[in-house]
Symmetry: C2
Subunit: 320 residues, 2 copies
Amino acid sequence: MTAITLEQAAQILREHDNYLVLMHKSPDGDAVGSAYALCRALRSIGKKANPLCGDEIPESYFFITDGFEIQDFAPEYIISVDLATADLLSGTAKDYADRIDLCIDHHGSNTGYAKLSAVDGKSPSCAEIIKKLIDVMGIKADREIADAIFTGVCTDTGCFKYSSVRPETHRIAADLMDCGARSAMICRLMFDSKSPAKLDMERRVLDTLEYAAGGKIAFICISREIMERSGATQGDTEGVASIPRQIEGVRVGITMKEKENGEYRFSVRADDDTDASEICRKFGGGGHRAAAGCSIYADSPEKAKDLMIAVCIEAIGEDS
Amino acid sequence: MTAITLEQAAQILREHDNYLVLMHKSPDGDAVGSAYALCRALRSIGKKANPLCGDEIPESYFFITDGFEIQDFAPEYIISVDLATADLLSGTAKDYADRIDLCIDHHGSNTGYAKLSAVDGKSPSCAEIIKKLIDVMGIKADREIADAIFTGVCTDTGCFKYSSVRPETHRIAADLMDCGARSAMICRLMFDSKSPAKLDMERRVLDTLEYAAGGKIAFICISREIMERSGATQGDTEGVASIPRQIEGVRVGITMKEKENGEYRFSVRADDDTDASEICRKFGGGGHRAAAGCSIYADSPEKAKDLMIAVCIEAIGEDS
């Protein structure tokens, strides 16, 4: 792995062609926005470029993908965006896990799986890096590119709320609006709109809320039963992980998602004094200080929950 | 009433002294933020200035008001901020209703009650106008001023979500962060923070969700039992009325709140094609096209609900 600057990345992108841009499984707004924005930017300078995700793109991002035709070519240069580790690739995208040429990412925990890496762990979104990259390349964002980048910027910052937001994040949002980004439509779709199934899922998930450490830790569970009964999709679970940390007095918010074969997938959100990525690293996961994730394999949801809560209690330095 | 520019307003503020800055009743983030920012800015150039609100400032804004001492002087020049009409003054602030010298506001509906008015109906918040005014005056915002203005900017835009947001709104947010505004803390406090009792109330309210007209109407109920069991306060119910309208496909969202003596208080939210105020006028209420309210007196919650839903079905032109 060699770390490179955005100037070097820009030079490389100008030199090569026939790009494949990989997204992680369960793609979110930052993954979809970054990949489509980069592909559209590359196409605008005459290159061929396709995005690839092993999972289906959730319907809520169709405004980004609509009208974008897949081009016919043999991939020559493989790029990943918003991908902390190659393990997060799924389906057909997995085939490229060992031959990623360039990684553009904002995860400080990036494992360095690509030949070349342009990683800025301080950037609140990967989309913000893509914006800087296309600026360096002298590409002006059209409305489609601006919409895609704006989606990544706003979703990965909880609509400009997180502590990762910097003054330049707002300046980039302003520039994107100048390029035609439909800020209000995107924000409404991403944050103020939910399907009946999603709302029903959230209602059932709220029924699982438990507190630990005298209210400093809050825990919710998205069981497979809840997903089945509500009819919610995997995409619908986005944002749910922020619920427990919103409760006053809560320092660590835990969201446990029941997967198959004894796997329980955790999202951990922490306050400024607690390191969520350190908590998740204890279980082989990782992420950011404020938000991280990991999987625990256990015989029962209770065991997985107890293991996680014990580590969180230790992390905040409280007696249970 | 004479309309003046921000340059003229700046000149006037430099010339006078002993300012009183009035806020509307039930003050929100924009009123508190605008008034305190303006007072602090005036004090920074050696003027005396006090904010005045007839109602108490809610606790969530104490981070703006903390450490701000009221000065002892006889008010000579009366300013109002974020005040569409003098009727919205309450308590001791009412005494100044007829002698307001300068109004700084962003309501297109401003009634022109002041001698001089600097009104920009396109500005998403009054705080944004205050920021421009102190820029014109050559005053650099310190952290306290920046926090106060940022609060107004983010609360009146639903955290940068509304269609009123312009590129310059984000640029102003960036400038305020450069001046030390604690963006993440403020956003978290204003938007991502709820008490365990409020969350429990919302959970119970979601259990009451019903649809009518094939999903075009959604109904929730805040019963007295829910309020008692959750321990939520009346203030906690703020924002709940926006939940049913956020559901995809819903054209009219109804929130019914059980009061005493057979009174049921309704909040109605409607899509662009439906007039909520017309629905509520049928029951003696009123409001805006998108959001309105009324009371229905009935023997039972079911009867009140049925009366309202019947009118809503008629309003959207659907068979029940």
